[in-house]
Subunit: 170 residues, 2 copies
């Protein structure tokens, strides 16, 4: 479903991904040195990983506070019964997707139907957004969990990359 990558990821691929996660400015030569292969091999591997959709893009992590988005909240949404499936649900989701403050949308079973993660400048803006969400047709109730302090927020702990185990794909 998620990738069009052909073949298996081997140890080399995973090592490359890990090194690039740590620092995507690392030169191909130095990655090659660590693996005892040539830079051009690393280059070809990275191209393949990009084409296969394994590597989405090269990017930077930056301090979100420069955007003044200091308020993080989670919102549980219960949908109206008529919006639990089909077109009406799709419409709810597409409206949520179009909101810049909405960073995550997950389907859940209990106690909500959808769980969102949002970032806003402050609590007043958050209130506005919640207002917008609750007036979306098909949204029955919203339940806000306002966070007061972020202790950890990381996309993935890439240290995990090392178990080459059964990473197979068709």
């Amino acid at each position: 479903m998620s990738t069009k990558f052909k073949g298996n990821l081997d140890e080399t691929d995973l090592f490359i991904i890990k090194r690039l996660c740590e620092d995507s400015n690392t030169s191909l030569a130095s990655i090659g040195d660590e693996l005892n292969v040539s830079p051009s091999t690393i280059h070809k591997r990275i191209c393949r990983l990009k084409e296969g959709g394994i590597i989405e893009r090269f990017t930077i992590l930056f301090d979100p506070s420069i955007l003044n988005l200091k308020t993080i909240a989670f919102i549980g949404i219960e949908l109206e019964r008529s919006a639990l499936v089909g077109k009406k649900k799709d419409e709810v989701i597409s409206k949520l997707l179009s909101m810049q403050e909405v960073l995550e949308i997950h389907e859940t079973l209990e106690p909500f139907d959808l769980l969102l993660k949002l970032r806003t400048e402050n609590v007043d803006f958050l209130r506005e957004i919640i207002g917008d969400i609750s007036t979306i047709e098909g949204v029955h109730t919203t339940n806000t969990i306002l966070t007061t302090k972020k202790i950890l927020e990381t996309p993935l702990k890439y240290e995990t990359i090392k178990d080459l185990g059964d990473i197979r794909r068709g």
Copy 2:
């Protein structure tokens, strides 16, 4: 609190950050072209942004499914009254930080004391982790919100970077 950056971020800085978010392999020269400044200026800006902690690091986004971490869950934790502040709370948090599956930890007010986000390979592993968490001294109850489908998951919508407004810092 969060950065040691001296001075203000100007339009140029924000443009650089946005371009690097989109593609951190963009050459300094081509960013410079778009801003009508020289590559060396871009270079110095990026150095300054790195040193100031605005740019955390250069990295890649990759498909998490290669790590077989397909299960996303959120866990609300209520702490025992004795662990609501101080050393005991710090110990709970440091145990949570050390768990590879725990990707986010937020303090909240209601209805939980802490909200976690986790990724695991499958629901069985999740159950194990929940077991581990619930036996941490100071954890009173855990409430799991299991997600069934990820619709959106993005660290930040960097398209937001453009309002140069009142982005001031001391």
